[in-house]
Amino acid sequence: MTEVIATNQTILVVGGGISGMTAALEAAETGKQVVLVEKRPYVGGRVTQLYKYFPKLCFPTCGLEINQRRAKMNPNLTILTLAEVTDLKGSAGDYTASVKISPRYVNDNCTACGDCEKAVEAEFDDDYNYGMGQRKGAYLPHSMAHPLRYVIDPQMLGSEDAQKAKDACKYDAVDLDMQEETIEFKAGAVIWATGWRPYDAAKIQPYGYDRYADVITNVEFERMADPKGPTGGKLVRPSDGKEAKNVAFIQCAGSRDRNHLYHCSRICCMATLKQTHYVQEAWGDEGKSSVYYIDIRAIDRFEDFYRKVQENANVSFIKSKVASITQSKDSGKPVLNGVDTEGYNRYANEHDLVVLAVGMEPSVDPESFPVEIQLNREGFIEPATDNGGVFAAGCASDALDVNRSAQHATGAALRAVQVVNRVAGTEG
């Protein structure tokens, strides 16, 4: 049984992505007790799935390492992985949270030696790579996962493979009898940092994400560019595995569209500008990027980054919302159709690979949210006093990049600290 020691002066953080981690660490480092609940088997969230950050084009691993080290060193922080908040009762200063913890089937003895992975044969879709490629049934989600412990896929349970994994472990770390459990504990304030999910590209029917293999999303492209990703960092066409040198990027795929997401997702312009660098890096002058856009929103200091990309002769900008994608009968390649609004010229351009710059959809489900919560039209949490002691952090509050998420999360931590300080004042 997992035990959590918590009181009305404890801060509960829901979601362990960059926002949740930041909020949890900032609060814990002021001396407050913090419990972080994360649905995945590891913390770091979607940031772990990025190859590089904009605008510095540095690797997120560095920031993750700092945060994970802070987490390991802080005795005030308890991290629950594979855990979801199922209920929240009470009010500011006095909440009771119910948390469902799914079994990992691997206990604390795990040294991440990888013997179980070698012993197992069954493979499943790799959700870390958005289903591009497979991983073993006993796996480490990614190379610097925290906590650094293996996971046994529940789909493998009851099979011979599961037993093989258990037998291979020298440390008695595989426990196939682990059960799902629900625990309850107190909290004074709650930071809601459930982040975002990429908008379902298949809903943008004219772009044929569900029909054409060579139409992918920006998050998938990010995995593709990563040397540790499903293609080993090679930019290839999913249909035939051939080199993808002529890459199209479609901006506002779902964002700023009343048929899909009302809001501007804010990160996609910069993400695309960043990803044109991947194409350039991979193929040099042979790599061509075409960016189809309504307008490029590279805000404040990012303008400089945009200018530099504009100066690159291998990157072209076409001011047009693409009307539809079809498939060439001759080459089988995707063809982008539309009208270039600078000159009103009609085009039908063939590309090796099309990357949809999909927007950010908030991961806040109003139906199953455990307490009364104020959401705006876009589905993000409003900073409303009605929300009591529940404060949104990062992308649960708005479409934000990593930098702004971290800033926002620090602010949320301060709000939560104020609530538990008030509790401490009355309780003495």
């Binding site: 004219p206 700023r256 569209d257 048929n259 047009s320 693409v322 539809s324 009208v339 009103y344 009609r346």
Partner: protein
């Protein structure tokens, strides 16, 4: 918004945009266009248009009254609704195109030889006579719109079609004499005339 701001906004909004907003059906939507171009790219007849919808919207904002109203572009719309479905700002583009065509016609600026315009006039004249559309006469007037010779040629070419339609009771040959009618035709004509007058009174002058 402050009063000054409202005044400045009004100043920069040109007369033709105001005219469209006031006088064209659904015209108040024009200013909502963000020029993404998805309507133009989605139009199946787009390559036959002189100005695709989003260009028309920009021309309206640029005050190009004559270029817009004399254009045959909006007459090319077949109401397939592709543009409406895809418009990220939910502009009723198809309806605006019809609104513009209608307004151009009313202003006497619509291109006379544009076939959709011609057919619409034939349809209107036909319906106004009896308050009901006489399909046989409408067909014939369309065949003969370019003169007697062309009319005979068209009729001969579609002879078999006509026979088949008669057999299937899809065409009533007796409609050629008189044809079916409303009970109170003159009342109907007066009503339409009155409606026309009211509409004319509602047209605002921005010249």
């Amino acid at each position: 918004m402050s009063d000054l701001n409202t005044a400045m906004t009004a100043k920069y909004r040109n007369n033709f945009l105001k005219e469209v907003e006031a006088n064209v059906e659904e015209g108040e939507w024009v200013k909502m266009c963000m020029q993404c171009g998805v309507c133009s790219g989605s139009c199946p007849l787009g390559k036959h248009w002189e100005h695709p919808p989003q260009e028309i919207f920009m021309m309206i904002r640029a005050g190009k009254r004559d270029d817009v109203l004399k254009s045959d572009s909006m007459w090319m719309c077949t109401s397939c609704y592709n543009c409406i479905v895809r418009c990220p700002r939910e502009l009723p583009i198809t309806h605006i195109m019809h609104g513009l065509a209608n307004y151009a016609k009313r202003m006497g600026l619509a291109p006379k030889s544009q076939p959709t315009n011609q057919f619409s006039q034939l349809f209107w004249d036909n319906m106004m006579k009896k308050g009901r559309v006489n399909e046989l006469k409408l067909g014939l007037s369309l065949y003969f719109k370019d003169g007697f010779g062309d009319g005979v040629k068209n009729a001969m070419a579609n002879q078999q079609l006509g026979m088949n339609m008669m057999k299937a009771k899809r065409m009533a040959p007796m409609e050629i004499i008189g044809g079916h009618s409303l009970k109170d035709v003159s009342g109907f004509q007066k009503m339409i005339k009155k409606a026309h007058e009211i509409e004319d009174q509602n047209i605002q002058d921005f010249s």
